[in-house]
Assembly symmetry: C2
Homo-oligomer: 346 residues x 2
């Protein structure tokens, strides 16, 4: 059985350096770290991480709680968190916490209270009061992604601002009949949906378009966006010339629905989303870009600061999205060209 | 500071039962487990998991290694694994291992060798020889999902059979010009892509259609499927009447391409996929269904068996997909109706 001393000798470093390299400390050069790990592998040496944890009081592990991993935003955030933790030599323990589920209750009552982590990143959790109490009682730093909760540090898109910018883009192109598509009462994303709708509503009011404010509910998926858009667009007399979709997946569903109804995008209907989803480019979708992967990396940075300095003040990192103009938005030529067509047929 | 004895008294159970409940043992009734956890929470008691690990030699943690989490298949598998582990009171540590990346090297050389888990689930890893050596040297049970690697237990779709069934469905409808869409030389999924293509090729040969075997490469995404289908379908003289797509995302891209080219699905072109992706229904896609979430749960079951009985033999669980017929496939009416159209125009 090799010891840490054997590994240090084999790698040509001090025992302290070997120990730091093997416990994932960042205070070791990349070269030394690699030599120590290669030596450890050659000698078949593995530190007992349980013993390391007892000795240091650190788990070298970060917990991530999110309601789903199989949605674009969450999966991208998780990738960003994972990469940032790997760079720091930290493990990632994943806790799935689907709202209202029995497993969510168990995650909060049993799993989290084991405190097998130095800190937690809570993604889109929107915790109930009792859950928030549990989180705070862990005496481990918590960083949230998404949400209104302000007792912890937060990384979040400015959702209201994103929707206001999307609406303003359509207004500046000359649209007046601009509808909002997406969001429901019972939803996975109460904060995101309400903030985005509020941003749209505010911008419409400020542009003197209060009479045109309207919302068609839809879950935030492509197929729900498709179905809702079919309903909204099938009556030509009521049809808007511009659509602000609650997210890109809903926007893409609406574009597919428009094509099937023979409505030309963008000349008859402009569609704008929020996210810059991986499929946005394929549908030439104009959108407000957020980069969830970077939000994950930023959350890790914030968390590290809190772990290293438990007295650090909670911080909010508010992300301003950038407008990406593609080919799904244009001036509302629909009405005039319809007049031309009518004339040709008369 | 409360002790385990306080918790046991408060919950009205023996110390042994309280201890089992708190370390996540399954040998405790759900009711007792809940009472113990409620008592522990009321008393503010949390066992030191590092101490528990040292005492039991178990980490109560399972490692999951996968190249990506932001793709449908991987995200669904991860959900299935997570749920199954939560039910058993086990933690999940996620290791991201993008092929060829520096982080993958670090995951194999540093993270996995820490052995902070009782067992590993390797999803779509297709490990290099040196990586496989590392996995086997960990002396922890490993279960693979996807792949040809047979030194560990495996849960996998019968990919060749799935593609053969897809091809046979089009053949039985009367198609002869059936092309395969998807797969490339440099790919994320060498096993999946080659096995599915082989299944198509074999079925074509056995149906006497060797002359019509053709493959158009595309990465396994919707946008790549779209671009490849535009190339394949834009020359009417060469156009197939049936398409076997390497996966549903490619198939959906092809359906969108066909619509944009004015090719009617299914009357001019039948399209069949493999997966039953969450968007398959929206596009009325006929497909071969696999349920990755269940594959994740099955992998957990297999892993538990290996953890409890280290001498258990490796097992392969081969999943046979089920044909789901929707509206993207039909008899090849295209050629005859084209003839009718030509006649009308002459």
């Amino acid at each position: 059985m090799s010891t840490i001393a054997d590994v240090a000798r084999e790698a040509g470093v001090s025992k302290a350096t070997a120990s730091r390299a093997l416990t994932g400390s960042t205070q070791v050069s990349a070269d030394a770290r690699r030599r120590v790990h290669e030596a450890a592998r050659r000698l078949g040496y593995t530190p007992s991480t349980s013993a390391v944890s007892l000795a240091t009081g650190r788990t070298r592990n970060v917990g991530v709680v999110m309601p789903h991993v199989n949605r674009w935003f969450f999966a991208e955030v998780l990738e960003g968190i994972q990469q940032a933790l790997l760079e720091r030599g930290l493990d990632l323990t994943l806790y799935d916490a689907d709202p209202g589920s029995e497993t969510r209750r168990r995650v909060f009552d049993e799993f989290l209270t084991r405190k097998r982590f130095d800190g937690l990143i809570a993604v889109g959790l929107e915790p109930a009061e009792s859950e928030l109490e549990t989180l705070l009682s862990l005496s481990r730093p918590v960083v949230s992604i998404i949400g209104t909760e302000r007792t912890t540090s937060v990384v979040t898109l400015d959702d209201a601002h994103a929707a206001a910018l999307a609406t303003a883009h359509l207004v500046s192109l000359g649209h007046r009949r601009i509808a909002f598509l997406g969001g429901t009462a019972a939803t996975l994303w109460p904060h995101v949906e309400s903030a985005r709708y509020e941003g749209y509503e505010r911008e419409m009011r400020e542009s003197g378009l209060s009479d045109h404010i309207s919302r068609t509910p839809a879950e935030l998926t492509m197929s729900a966006g498709y179905a809702a858009a079919v309903d909204l667009l099938s009556d030509p007399s009521q049809r808007p010339t511009g659509l602000v979709a609650a997210c890109d997946e809903v926007a893409i569903g609406a574009i597919i629905a428009a094509r099937r109804l023979g409505i030309l995008v963008p000349s008859d209907l402009s569609v704008i989303g929020i996210d810059d989803h991986e499929n946005a480019e394929m549908f030439a979708l104009t959108t407000l870009r957020q980069i969830p992967r970077e939000q994950g990396a930023t959350a890790v940075e914030l968390l590290m600061r809190h772990i290293e300095d438990p007295t650090a003040e909670p911080t909010s990192v508010i992300i301003r999205p950038r407008l990406v103009v593609r080919n799904s938005t244009s001036t509302p030529t629909g009405s005039s060209s319809a007049a031309v067509r009518d004339a040709a047929w008369s």
